[in-house]
């Protein structure tokens, strides 16, 4: 079996003495889609942000593509990476946020080209061509000159996905990508994500969309108060949960 894309071993994270992650273990293989589910405050988003090093984990080992996140091991010591190295690592991991976070002062096209040009040093024209391809892929070719505020939530989230894909990431993280959307707009975003999953992208999705998890995920992880309570194939885990907590959670969300 090839190297897993993401590997977490006993990952801990506390904020001001409150332990949010209490030793999380998880392995995501290449090309796999994993869904993180669980009640709010269970640590799903924190885990996702640790993988991207938006948050520093305190203890444990976290590897993306075989490399430690944010640190380098020499002998028995861990050296914190320089900002430049961390930025380089991050540029290979795409992230989609609950509230889209599109750059409000840039047009849709500029939102997708700025990372390519300023981070990867791609030529302007090449970046634009790529951005247009991605816009076509998410079905928004006619919106390239619009500003984010002129788009619906669903359209903004599709642009956000295109912005992340423009960096040609090896891993995509989704932090409740449909939670801020009107119900009738959820479908268009999930369709783009399904298409992405079919194309073989490795994805970790924090979600409350159980149907999506059942349909697309290879593995579902149920987090509760900082630990993974139950995990496995969604068709088993979501249909016949073993732990009492997951049973309770599913009875509330389904």
């Amino acid at each position: 079996m090839s190297l897993p894309m993401v590997e977490a071993l006993g990952v801990h994270k506390s904020y001001y003495g409150v332990e949010v992650l209490k030793g999380v273990n998880l392995t995501v293989a290449r090309g796999e889609v994993s869904c993180l589910i669980g009640p709010s405050g269970s640590g799903k988003s924190t885990l996702l942000r640790c993988i991207n090093h938006l948050e520093k984990h305190d203890k444990g080992e976290l590897r993306v593509d075989g490399e430690l996140v944010g640190y380098e091991a020499h002998g028995d010591k861990l050296y914190e990476l320089t900002d430049k190295r961390i930025c380089h690592e991050r540029s290979q991991i795409g992230m989609v946020f609950q509230r889209f976070n599109l750059f409000q002062h840039l047009t849709v096209l500029q939102n997708i080209t700025i990372g390519q040009v300023k981070v990867k040093g791609v030529n302007d024209d090449v970046a634009k061509t790529k951005a247009r391809e991605l816009l076509a892929r998410v079905g928004l070719s006619d919106k390239e000159k619009h500003y984010p505020s002129q788009l619906s939530g669903g359209q903004q989230q599709r642009v956000a996905i295109a912005r992340a894909l423009a960096m040609e990431p090896k891993l995509m993280l989704f932090d409740e990508p449909t939670s801020a959307l009107d119900p009738e707009l959820v479908g268009e975003v999930l369709d783009v994500m399904k298409d992405l999953a079919r194309s073989g992208m490795t994805m970790i999705v924090v979600t409350h969309e159980m149907n999506f998890a059942r349909e697309v995920a290879n593995t579902v992880y149920f987090l509760d108060s900082g630990i993974i309570e139950e995990s496995g194939d969604p068709r088993t885990v979501l249909v016949t949960p073993t732990s009492a907590r997951l049973k309770l959670f599913l009875s509330k969300v389904l």
Partner: protein, 334 residues
């Protein structure tokens, strides 16, 4: 009542009698004031002149418009105006640069940097700018010479004689610039605080450094919040520079005072200087409007029209109304 458009009941708007009275009162007051501007009351000085053997005598204008006219473009006043502009530009440039640095330092994770920034703002906002000005003017008494070298040793690379290097004009630039830096840092900080944390996170998540996300993502958006108070600061600085006359810099107000010290026409020269301040303020306000429009990109679905666009729209509206009226008068079919 019917819903048919032709027979629909006529709408009678509410009559605002109180407002009409108010309008009349205000119009009369404005007319009275304008009248006083352009009259020659009998208590003013009577001046006589002889032209083609005809002697005519006339009281002076209440507001001395002929003096204002004479001095408005005199070389002293124009030189003073240029000094004022020079001081304003240099002090604002210094203030903006320092302000941005201090604001970024305030946000630093290093306690030393953030508290240094806080102390800077505390000190320069906490003492009168006039005191700071006098202080910098007397700086050579405290530090007669300054040198660049290795700290706490006798090794020096070059020495500067403070007394000859920092002129009155220089000390005014330093004083106003450092003072403005303290105020401007708070404006920048307000701008940075106004931008959602998510923008930085998104920038960082695509691999931007902290510096890139600040420069390319956060600051351009913060500009929208920063600009209106900046306009305020520039206009305020324009007038604060008049304090420089206390250390002997002859700027606009200083030049006006010098002239009136000789001819005692104090009020008329103050009017002359004030007119120039108003003119520059007007130009700055127009510039501010267009800058704000530029940085509003993406923040509003539709940017507000420029005054020129608004006038054009109004004219188009009137023209359209006129057109339909003529069309109706000509007996257009219903």
């Amino acid at each position: 009542m019917t819903t048919n458009g032709d027979d629909a009941a006529k709408v009678v708007p509410v009559r605002h009698y109180g407002r009409w009275v108010g309008v009349v009162v205000v119009v009369v007051l404005i007319a009275m004031f304008v009248h006083t501007l352009f009259t020659r009351p009998s208590f003013t000085v009577l001046t006589c002149s002889t032209h083609h053997a005809v002697r005519t005598c006339q009281h002076e204008w209440r507001f001395g418009w002929d003096y204002v006219g004479r001095y408005f473009t005199s070389s002293e006043i124009i030189d003073g105006l240029l000094r004022t502009l020079e001081l304003t530009i240099i002090a604002m440039a210094m203030g903006i640069s320092i302000g941005v640095v201090i604001a970024i330092m305030r946000r630093s994770e290093s306690r030393l940097l953030s508290s240094t920034a806080w102390t800077y703002t505390w000190f320069f906002r906490g003492t009168p700018v006039l005191v700071q000005l006098e202080f910098w003017f007397a700086f050579n008494a405290l530090y007669p010479s300054m040198s660049v070298g290795i700290p706490f040793t006798h090794v020096t690379f070059f020495v500067v004689n403070v007394g000859t290097t920092i002129t009155a004009f220089g000390s005014a630039c330093i004083a106003f610039g450092l003072n403005e830096g303290a105020y401007f840092s708070e404006i920048v900080r307000a701008g940075l605080l106004a931008i959602d944390e998510g923008q930085t996170e998104a920038a960082i998540s695509i691999g931007m450094t902290r510096g890139q996300s600040l420069r390319l993502i956060v600051l351009p958006q913060a500009m929208r919040v920063i600009l209106p108070p900046t306009g305020n600061e520039v206009i305020s600085m324009l007038k604060t520079t008049s304090l420089a006359s206390s250390v002997g810099v002859i700027e606009l107000l200083g030049a006006a005072n010098l002239i009136s010290a000789a001819n005692y026409k104090t009020i008329f020269l103050l009017i002359t200087a004030s007119l120039w301040y108003l003119i520059v303020t007007t130009i700055l306000s127009i510039g501010q409007f267009y800058l704000e429009r530029h940085f509003a990109k993406g923040a509003l679905r539709n940017p507000p029209p420029t005054p020129i666009q608004r006038v054009r729209e109004d004219l188009a509206g009137i023209a359209a109304k006129f057109h339909t009226k003529r069309f109706a008068d000509a007996g257009a079919p219903r």
